[in-house]
């Protein structure tokens, strides 16, 4: 995959002059997830991916909310902020708008992003702020010890739903498409190659990229995605999406067009999974170019300056109707 960096999500971000390695992206903090948590594999993949990106390490920022997944930034030796529950997309929006030279990531969980943070998420996507959002979907609240989340399957028995949940879950991909997302993808914690491939596309996409990552929580929702990882079943269930490549589901076959301006087809694909996981599309559902919020904001500033020059404080203060007293 070759990327024209000047057009890409990485435009204006300084490239590192020296080669970096995974070690450069590993912080000195001990990783504290439960043994076997899918978060480890994702961390590993990201630490492996970042050196290849080639950006200056100090120009990368990870912003997270609250949840097990949101501990992510602590383990990367970049800049990072572990903020408050659900608000990372808002904080990242301010940061990315103010600083085009920063490569801004958001790390969030299904509760953080879709429950308390749902509004910020959908607004970031419609604005198309230049962010890469990693949504760790383990279909459970991990950090608070096992309540159901907005992606938990109906009827789920958890600490807060001893008789089974009666909520109908969100399909994060459908929701994102309904919210005008310009880049939407899904991948698996366990499939490092695929995860990396999607990361690469997401981070170089200019605009908001949402990546839903199915992530196993061995403690509170173990095996939620096992059928997708099981050697025997996985390939029968996974529907791999690649732009321009053929997709086959049952007796339907089509060429995947992730670049379609109209999100309807992507939406339809998002409905392939009827919650039985018989057909679970992974890969990039949609990837279209649309002006980003932050670029346009900066463009307006630049234009105003080009038209009328830098603001002058004294002139501003005196305005048009001032008078003198001797």
């Amino acid at each position: 995959m070759t990327t024209d960096v000047t057009l890409s999500g990485l435009r204006d971000m300084p490239m590192s002059e020296v080669e970096t390695s995974r070690k450069d992206f590993t912080s000195d903090q001990e990783v504290r997830w439960c043994p076997g948590c899918g978060d480890y594999i994702i961390l590993n993949a990201v630490q492996g991916f970042l050196p290849a990106l080639g950006l200056k390490r100090e120009n990368i920022v990870f912003v997270s909310g609250i949840g097990c997944s949101s501990r992510f930034p602590y383990y990367l030796d970049t800049f990072g902020m572990h903020s408050i529950h659900g608000r990372a997309p808002a904080i990242a929006t301010g940061l990315a708008t103010a600083r085009p030279d920063l490569n801004v990531w958001v790390v969030t969980g299904d509760g953080d992003a879709l429950s308390i943070g749902g509004n910020h998420l959908i607004h970031a996507m419609r604005r198309n702020v230049n962010l890469t959002i990693l949504l760790f979907n383990n279909r459970i609240y991990g950090l608070t010890k096992g309540q159901y989340s907005p992606t938990s399957e109906p009827g789920k028995i958890t600490k807060s739903t001893p008789a089974g949940s009666v909520d109908y879950p969100f399909n994060p991909i459908s929701l994102a498409l309904g919210a005008e997302a310009s880049f939407v993808a899904r991948t698996l914690d366990s499939d490092r190659a695929h995860l990396t491939e999607v990361l690469q596309a997401a981070v170089t996409h200019r605009g908001t990229s949402l990546i839903e990552i199915y992530q196993n929580c061995p403690i509170f929702n173990d095996g939620a995605f096992d059928v997708l990882k099981d050697k025997d079943q996985a390939e029968g269930r996974l529907v791999r999406l690649r732009h321009g490549e053929k997709v086959q589901v049952g007796d339907r076959e089509w060429v995947h067009d992730a670049h379609n301006d109209n999100p309807s087809q992507a939406f339809e694909i998002s409905r392939l999974d009827d919650a039985t996981m018989a057909h679970v599309p992974i890969g990039i559902f949609r990837q279209v170019e649309r002006p980003t919020y932050d670029d346009q904001v900066r463009e307006q500033v630049a234009q105003a300056r080009a038209q009328s020059g830098e603001g002058e404080l004294a002139a501003l203060l005196s305005g048009r109707d001032s008078w003198s007293v001797a």
Partner: protein
Amino acid sequence: MWPICHNLRRRLESTEAIMRPQEMGSVAKQVQQLDQVVIRFAGDSGDGMQLTGDRFTQETASFGNDLSTLPNFPAEIRAPAGTLPGVSSFQLHFADHDILTPGDTPHVLVAMNPAALRANVADLEAGATIIVDTHDFTGRNLTRAGYAENPLEDGSLDRFHVHAFDLTGLTVASVKQFGLSRKDAARAKNMFSLGMLSWLYGRPVDSTRSFLEQRFANAPDIRDANLAAFNAGWNFGETTEGFAVSYQIKPAPMRSGRYRNITGNLALSYGLVAASVRSGLPLFLGAYPITPASDILHELSKHKRFGVVTFQAEDEIAGIGAALGASYGGSLGVTTTSGPGISLKSETVGLAVSLELPLVVVDVQRGGPSTGLPTKTEQADLLQAMFGRNGEAPVAIVAPQSPGDCFDAALEAARIAVTYRTPVLLLSDGYLANGSEPWLLPDVETLATIEPNFADKPNHETETGDHSFWPYQRDPQTLARAWAIPGTPGLEHRIGGLEKADGHGNISYEPANHDLMVRTRQAKIDRIADTIPALEVDDPHGDAAMLILGWGSTYGPIGSACRRLRQQGMQVAQAHLRHLNPFPSNLGEVLRAYDTVVVPEMNLGQLSLLVRAKYLVDVVSYNQVRGQPFSASELEDVFTTTLKEMHS
């Protein structure tokens, strides 16, 4: 007759007949000197009373009077025409001397319809003047305003000097030539009235003419009609026999310099721009619209040339979140809102306290609780500003005392925020926001500079001699932490809302560390007192026994009331707090120096509570929570009574 019209605490200076060149057959009229006038323009929300008031204010300002204004609009956008809830008004107080408030009771009421008359007449004292547009004083309109009888005819206005004209009819006649619809023609009546009043008080009219030319540049019909109506109003004033005299209010002696008239929201916006210029940090505003703060968002969105970015967020939480994100990136992050928005922002303010990042949080207070009285003023968010967050989460609090002072207060808030890496709550209110006064332009070169002092190199040496960056290493003086923004090579680090270890800032659950950090964050805020001036007391003879302590927008009425007491030979001291947290270091001393301390507030005693708790001084609270500023005469009474009681 006229002297009575302006009868409230006012000296008649001289009455002289001035002959003017005859225009349109006008007759020469007497010109009478006044020292001050309070006019209130009132009409339907759609009648353009705010614009009329603004223009009259502008004319008055450029004439050189001191002035103070008080707009008052309904919560509804445009309640049904002719109803009481739809009445919008604008009060202007102008004088040949230094004044502090928009005036207690109007000397002159301009009422554009029955509802405007009915909604405002109770505020007038006997002898006041009423100028009324008779056009709508007809059956249905009277009923809609709640009048059983026509007040212009039933004698109920006998105590007043009533000038009744069909202003609408006159306006329509005066713009006939432009072929506007009757409705559009009638809409120019505010300009007709403005012209008339401008004549009556000898206001310079050029600025209004050029304003109209610019404003309606794209609609020549409307422009010409408005100009014609304005001129016709002026001429009508001069011509009509209804007015026997016109008035002169000499310019007020003011410190020399360049002035402009300014509202609080505008001054606050400019203060933020100035803070950006003087700190070198780009200004980032994250805001969600809310009355009466929205105008700051509107204003700042115009100043892209200053690199100002305004982000209209999806809600208040996103607004402050984005501002904090921008701050983290090295912008001057600001969020503006009113009371309910502060409630929503509390959790994020707490995060900013924990992250120790600069953030200016502007609360333009309005009537509460809950949605309350959105267009009315109040100062009941002080304790929310102090305490409205979980845990021990101290912030600095600053408040402006007059519209123009919002500029300085904003600059000071930004200075504290950046210097101490802390959120600062800036408490304006609806009265300051929309009220205006002449403002002496500051010399921009001498404005305080603000030093971000970004960290750019490691600040810690480990035992092994390695150099690393400790984000919670502190300046020994200010206790401000080291602030390295993303993009600074070698200074990569992570911060968050969990408790962090002193120094290196990694997560720490250590009991002793938590206690230390809680106390350190508090100590840092307390240290701000080292860089703020001692509280000044205005005690002309130095022998008052009673001190009036205030904060925020009550400065005007408190000051006026104090002047009145002093004019009557009573001793009273006045002190007004710019800093609500921390207090100036000498506050305790000041309070203890007086036998009685009165604290007037537009709440149930919030500053009182803070000073009582801190200094154990039994201050006297005086409270009104009416959605309106104090009137000077009300405070005059209270202070006088308190003084008398002290001596009895």
